[in-house]
Assembly symmetry: C2
Homo-oligomer: 468 residues x 2
């Protein structure tokens, strides 16, 4: 048997991840430490993620804008927790246009501060609220232990920034974004089930009064934070003087929120569905849903392949033609590594009987299908695969989430999956004990699995795990 | 008569531009010198520009990628002309992660160098060529005299970077991008006619052997460079060792190209079509094509407005509802400033007779139209307006382009428009004389108006003008 192309997951999961990112041509390390070059296949997945998230954000009423990359250093210092949280990770421009700058400039690690400054100008009256803004941008946070997609010194994301008239409005809108934009996208597009909850105080965003999270379980049982939404209370409104005249005529501080999802989700997609043969890309987010491969270098076969690609594309399937002359086995392995949902193979013998071979990436099933019905067949398989990936990931998550009673049991459970236990058992000293084992509280939930309004609710449970 | 809201164009064109950018809520100055905050209305136009250009780029076969914002300073130094051209404009990061960096990092002013480094890794054989890549990104060039959209220290753009096996392939593909992506987009989407040609040597991109340009004429008779495509010869291939094994087995340098279009085009859109009442946005690129306004605060009127918006949207027209309670005159003026192509006004008297008032932004014509046929009417008006804006801009350009014989005549003509004269009359000393008058050679063309292959062709004409 041939040497496996990828390190098996069971042997060394981080090495498998590195291998698959390289071999599937998703990304390369950039020349500056911790930066990333996203290659065409990786970027095509990101474009589909962007489009799905952007549609949902627009449906939720927020409008896209673009704020500058450069933020005066003094802005960050206006919110005490914020500057403390981000200072160690900043990249700072000190020279521009050939001269030393009088005030150093920070390359945005996130944009609450600069949005705050302009919200203060744009919001005058309660009639200007809510102000619902979003931007797609790159941000920079210096990373000591970079990993492609998961932790990079520069990453791509969207960051929403909103101002509301009351705590209730702000909380309700951030929750709506969290559930109807992020969690809906993660489930329906990436096929990743999540635990949705709020962060304990120790894990909140710097400057927030509440942080919501969607936590996915990767194939190695570790957690990945896949999206976060923050209620900032009046902290940034006070730091940037974002006030409005209420209906009653008084001047009030706005309640602001921020929320983001990033290229990190691509890492989550890889680790939630990939296997020893490579990526497994859910059909909804797959740039190529079906590749039509010529088994032999034969003109009649090529013509049939070309025609089938057009028929698939006409019916809305993202199909790609592979009639290249390399070894068939090697080409098939490459498409497998890239996680393309369906391989449709056509050879001279297939053609003679009017059939094609359809291979499914997730189950590895192969079937002979009539050439004249293969398009309808492919549509059914793609829908089935999207469903099955979600239910397989849900099964994996559920069977690796253990209800435990003590911090010690949680430590044991977190070696291979998640532990769930009463928050009051962990709160305080328990968190410190867990952290020594590189385990954190990923989120707090109500006992029925729904998201609490605040960590002050009684009877919460904590989901704890090792994480990326 | 009320005070005009905008400075009239004839009085002070730059002030008019500033006024309209602010009053139409397109953009604000950022906090760091020369940076820009693109507001929702401005960004919605940019999204439509992106989408139109991206579709054309994909149709031309290039694939999107994302390269890092940060480039090692040493990369820029590898191509002598390139570093000389960009050094004065660089923003440099010297501190990151709390420490002084051993090698300073440049915030990308453009990405030829870093693409070059990875092309060298990815290209091995002639089978890997052509390598056709593109990225949508922000870039930074420190600006001493910033102007929103036109010259900003940070701007958004796409930059294509390709490697080819021969000079001919590189030249043909760059030309295809220039004509079929950029010029087609400028004409059909932005409705801006251009002079397409090549730059004289003095105006070439730093490191290029040939630079193609699309030059638009603004309403004040000045030129705006709206898109450029560069042939880089083997300059970057030699600097970054981008080589391939030819079919014959020899090692050869690639021929590379780069090409870009930026948020600057929004400035061009404003100055090519705007008038004393504000923006005039061509329907194809307009985020809002028709606004349906209630003339009175009346429930039956509101209901009719809502229903009409849905009917317009169902037929693919981007329609917006305005049933706000402010003064009708003020609201109408605001939509006029924003350049929305059609205002459809409904009042109680209109409703009684089953009619609406349709006001066209470009001609200011108003007509009474049957409510039940207004959707079809609007479609016709939008198509007509797109055509008319293009032909009006073409008429303006042609009547302000003067064929002259001497450099002195060119200087006179360039006070109010463009001058066209034999390139051999300008080449050399003429360029220096023009530059003293802040006039430059915008492009070189063949006598029939087509684009030459190189400035070595005989019998070229020069288009000269003042410019942004």
């Amino acid at each position: 048997m041939a040497e496996p192309i990828l390190t098996p997951q069971a042997e060394d999961f981080p090495k498998w991840y590195q291998d698959v990112v390289a071999k599937a041509e998703m990304a390369d390390n950039g020349p500056v430490r911790g930066t990333m070059v996203i290659r065409p296949y990786g970027y095509a997945i990101w474009e589909r993620i962007q489009s799905a998230v952007d549609q949902r954000i627009k449906a939720a009423g927020a409008k896209n804008v673009y704020f500058p990359l450069f933020i005066p250093e003094s802005y960050l210092q206006r919110e005490a927790e914020h500057v403390e949280g981000f200072s160690p990770e900043l990249a700072i421009v000190t020279i521009a246009g050939g001269e030393e700058l009088a005030e150093p400039i920070v390359v945005r690690p996130t944009s609450e501060t600069v949005f705050g400054e302009y919200m203060a100008k744009w919001v005058q009256s309660h009639r200007d609220l809510p102000l619902l803004l979003n931007q797609w941008a790159n941000v920079v946070r210096w990373e000591m232990r970079p990993r492609l997609f998961l932790r990079t010194s520069e990453f791509l994301w969207q960051e929403g920034h909103c101002a509301h008239a009351s705590y209730e409005d702000a909380s309700a809108y951030a929750t709506k974004i969290h559930l109807e934009v992020y969690n809906d996208f993660l489930q329906k597009v990436l096929a990743v089930p999540t635990y949705v909850g709020i962060k304990p105080k120790s894990e909140r965003f710097a400057g927030a009064i509440n942080s919501m999270t969607c936590e996915g379980m990767m194939k190695d049982g570790k957690a990945l934070q896949m999206a976060t939404s923050h209620e900032l209370g009046t902290n940034f409104a006070k730091a940037f003087n974002i006030t409005f005249q209420s209906e009653a005529g008084s001047s009030e501080f706005c309640h602001t929120t921020s929320w983001g999802i990033s290229t990190r989700t691509i890492g989550g997609l890889i680790m939630a569905h990939g296997d020893d043969k490579g990526l497994v890309v859910p059909p909804v987010v797959a740039p190529i849903q079906a590749v039509v491969m010529a088994v032999r270098d034969d003109e009649a076969v090529h013509a049939a392949c070309r025609e089938l690609v057009l028929r698939l594309q006409d019916s809305g399937i993202r199909a790609e033609l592979d009639i290249s002359s390399g070894s068939f086995g090697r080409r098939a392995t490459d498409w497998e590594i890239k996680g393309v949902p369906l391989r449709i193979e056509i050879g001279p013998r297939d053609l003679a009987v009017g059939e094609v071979t359809v291979a499914r990436r997730d189950t590895s099933e192969k079937a002979q299908v009539q050439l004249n019905t293969v398009v309808a067949h492919a549509q059914i398989l793609l829908e089935d695969m999207q469903r099955l990936l979600y239910s397989a990931a849900t099964g994996h998550r559920d069977s690796n989430t253990h209800d435990v009673s003590t911090v010690e049991e949680a430590i044991t459970a977190a070696q291979t999956g998640f532990a769930r236990l009463d928050w009051k058992t962990v709160d305080g000293a328990g968190e410190t004990v867990l952290k020594k084992e590189a385990i954190t509280v990923r989120c707090l939930q109500r006992r029925d699995g729904t998201m609490p309004i605040s960590d002050q609710e009684p009877d919460l449970v904590a989901i704890v795990a090792k994480s990326y």
